[in-house]
Symmetry: C2
Subunit: 221 residues, 2 copies
């Protein structure tokens, strides 16, 4: 009982601060993505490809969440956009308060797109809103097509599913059709892109879709 009420309390505080973050994002008309996946599914690489292609047209900022280290923020900063590293010191997900503290480093009025790259974890991040407009998840092909059955919350919560590393399809057992049947059941309106960040295949569709969302956000009253 104690445990349950502590968890409920933590989630309530998180949602309250997430709401404040969301108001700030909305007032500044910045589109905010919460990017999540298992470790090594390709979050930072997708972000590198996305930044390379859109940074000359839109003003982009990135928040990098990692337990320790700042390698990912350095990778993104090399692409020429502002990247702020959050180290969670062991915690398995970002929460809205960590993101709020990182926001102090940005001039939100000067951004069109802010991407929050969460800690690599297919479980815990799905439970914590940080104030994002939408959650984007990556499933990489080598992880297997059974993942939606075993980690359903992440698939239910994510507006977009990016299936990455499709260049490895010939070398692993992964049935795209079977996976899509399950994800459609879990989340009928989810938008799905099949890509390879390594070869570039499929990235155009994702980038065009994202660009349309950035424009919508800026046009909102």
């Amino acid at each position: 009982m104690l445990k349950v009420s502590v968890v409920r309390n933590i989630l309530e505080i998180n949602d309250r601060i997430a709401g404040q973050n969301r108001e700030l994002f909305s007032a500044n008309r910045v589109l905010v993505l919460n990017l999540m996946s298992s470790p090594g599914a390709g979050k930072t690489t997708l972000l590198e490809r996305t930044v390379e292609r859109l940074k000359d047209k839109y003003r982009i900022g990135v928040i990098e969440g990692d337990i320790t280290s700042s390698y990912d923020a350095e990778r993104i900063a090399q692409k020429g956009v502002q990247a702020v590293q959050i180290n969670t010191d062991g915690a398995c997900h970002l929460d809205s308060n960590m993101v709020r503290e990182a926001l102090g480093e940005f001039d939100l009025g000067a951004l069109d797109l802010l991407v929050v790259e969460n800690v690599g974890n297919l479980v815990c991040p799905a439970e914590f809103n940080v104030g994002e407009d939408m959650k984007i998840m990556i499933l990489s092909v080598p992880e297997g097509d059974d993942k939606p059955l075993k980690y359903p919350l992440m698939f239910q919560e994510s507006r977009v599913l990016i299936v990455n590393k499709i260049d490895l399809l010939p070398y692993v057992d992964f049935n795209l059709k079977r996976m899509r049947e399950v994800t459609t059941g879990l989340n009928p309106t989810q938008v799905v892109f099949e890509v390879s960040c390594r070869t570039g295949e499929g990235l155009e569709a994702w980038l065009n879709w994202l660009e349309a969302r950035i424009k919508e956000r800026r046009a909102a009253p």
Copy 2:
């Protein structure tokens, strides 16, 4: 402060029950492994290969930890050994109390080896002992060679590191030497096996090592 003391309290309770589990395992001379990795790194497949090869010589039991579903326990049961499923109902790791409850399903005196397959998560399971003799982790090649830098606790806690999916090395950027330099720094006595559960490469060394540990356990006073 409240949060810190709640966490400390949870870990203390967990360690106390883990100690009780450990006494039970020791009294029955059963070797207990806590098997951990990211989602889709190959825990269940390694377990299938291990069970196939050792089940005629040793008496094996398996505890499968998943957030939801019982697919993995069904896969293992098809190999002809007892498999008990724990569903964590959203929780991101197994704890010692969940394992204690599952132990009621086994005749420990009739087992040589018990493998606890944890929830797929490279973060949280490393913090919770369940009473195991040793933690075994899998890193799969497509996850990338930077994972030890970003998730160091798992690598520090694990007696054995199994590098899986080495058949994919030609198709991804993964530098085994660079990874080993980092893991040696984090955990100098860690035993490392490079395997492909798909092709069978490297499994002999792992199976021979494990067999030696089972024999040691049975010979202990």
